[in-house]
């Protein structure tokens, strides 16, 4: 499907620049051109598609739906799935949290949404397809959604409401289920397109530098680090590899666009996919900056429990990935 991009990259590097096949620089440059073109194309397609979905299911509608309906346990899965289609901005995580609490949505369900949203989103999916192929992407999306749901159920069972900050407890005490059905703006598809388009352009512009730097680093590693280099240190039988990679990654933060190209090269050079994905999930999903933001609504103890449960679930899915793939 992407052969034509490879032809363009080959032509550019070997014909136009006249570099020799097998040269480190040539290989790295070829990889860079091929990967950026392919990934930007895929990103465009996925971001645009998700933009359409999101235009019809805005966050207020999601909240209203979760708040209004009795879902008999399915609400965790649904919240998690909505987390996928809702674009995530870490600066919105606190207002989102309050909005959910105010609508009478259980804490665990809110967590399910908050966990999945940064982990599985339009940018992550677009990059994943480009770097790892469709099959791995589907497994990643499913495990991301399950991870959010399961963590949400566990966090709900722990009865954490007492660890919210006082003003949030007040919001919780006055919580009301939304009664009215959400009135979505009744716009035609044609009218929605320009707004969706503007968002797509903005998102792509925003992630472009990360993708370019990520792929450039990836390209360098690709050209200069020998195959199987990491296998010595992190092979599948090393039981500690997954937890160490995960815990190292928790305080770090990068969005999916920066970290994924690097992860792909790590995998190509011999790090097991499950270990690499656990690392990536921990980088994208949990971070110190996020913990700082959440301090406004949660006590330190609650943040610690939240991070602990999610870390544990990430480690488990890392093992699962390693045994499945």
């Amino acid at each position: 499907m992407f052969d034509w991009i490879q032809h363009i990259a080959d032509w550019f590097v070997y014909e136009l620049l006249g570099l020799r096949v097998g040269q480190h620089l040539a290989e790295a440059l070829n990889f860079f051109i091929y990967d950026t073109t392919k990934i930007l194309l895929l990103l465009f397609v996925v971001v645009f598609f998700m933009g359409i979905v999101n235009s019809y299911f805005p966050i207020d509608k999601v909240k209203n739906y979760l708040s209004r309906n009795k879902l008999y346990g399915l609400e965790y899965l649904i919240a998690s799935l909505f987390g996928v289609v809702t674009p995530f901005c870490s600066c919105s995580s606190v207002p989102l949290f309050i909005g959910f609490v105010r609508g009478g949505i259980p804490l665990g369900v809110t967590f399910a949404f908050l966990i999945t949203s940064p982990l599985v989103n339009e940018v992550a999916i677009g990059l994943f397809v480009g770097l790892f192929g469709l099959k791995t992407t589907i497994i990643y999306v499913i495990s991301g959604v399950l991870l959010g749901s399961v963590s949400g159920v566990i966090l709900q069972k722990l009865k954490l409401e007492v660890y919210l900050t006082p003003w949030v407890k007040e919001v919780l005490a006055n919580a009301q289920r939304d009664q009215e059905v959400f009135q979505a703006e009744n716009q035609t598809f044609k009218k929605r397109i320009p707004i969706i388009w503007a968002e797509v352009v903005k998102i792509l512009k925003g992630v472009l530098p990360y993708v370019l730097v990520g792929i450039a680093i990836g390209g360098l590693m690709h050209g200069y680090i020998p195959e199987g280099f990491f296998e010595k240190y992190m092979d599948k039988d090393n039981l500690f590899a997954v937890p160490i990679a995960t815990i190292l990654a928790v305080p770090m933060y990068s969005n999916a666009s920066g970290i994924l190209p690097v992860v792909q090269v790590l995998v190509a050079k011999g790090i097991p996919l499950g270990t690499a994905i656990a690392f990536m999930m921990a980088v994208v999903g949990l971070s110190l900056p996020e913990a700082m933001l959440l301090k406004k609504v949660m006590s330190l103890k609650l943040i610690a429990i939240f991070f602990g449960v999610v870390t544990l679930c990430i480690i488990l899915s890392g093992y699962l990935f390693n045994s499945l793939l």
Partner: protein
């Protein structure tokens, strides 16, 4: 008619982008409007928005969670 504009946001890059857009629209069209940035979380939550930045014109939340174009802001302000 004088418009009271508020921009709700805790100071992320998108909120700053929105402030720039709105400021430009006001000065370029010499509109009669006052602009206030609301950064306090409690205040923001009174407007019941879940995604920031949000643009509030005369106490009506007009845009939330994205940075509008200049034309869009102008249309909203001329309403």
């Amino acid at each position: 008619m004088h418009k009271v504009i508020k921009i709700l946001g805790t100071g992320c890059s998108k909120c700053q982008a929105m402030t720039v857009v709105v400021n430009e629209v006001i000065s370029e069209n010499k509109l009669d409007a006052s602009l206030e940035k609301v950064e306090d979380l409690m205040e923001i939550m009174k407007f019941d928005v879940m995604t920031t930045p949000a643009l509030v014109i005369n106490d009506v939340v007009s845009v939330k969670g994205r940075v509008p174009s200049k034309n869009e802001v102008l249309a909203l302000l001329n309403d």
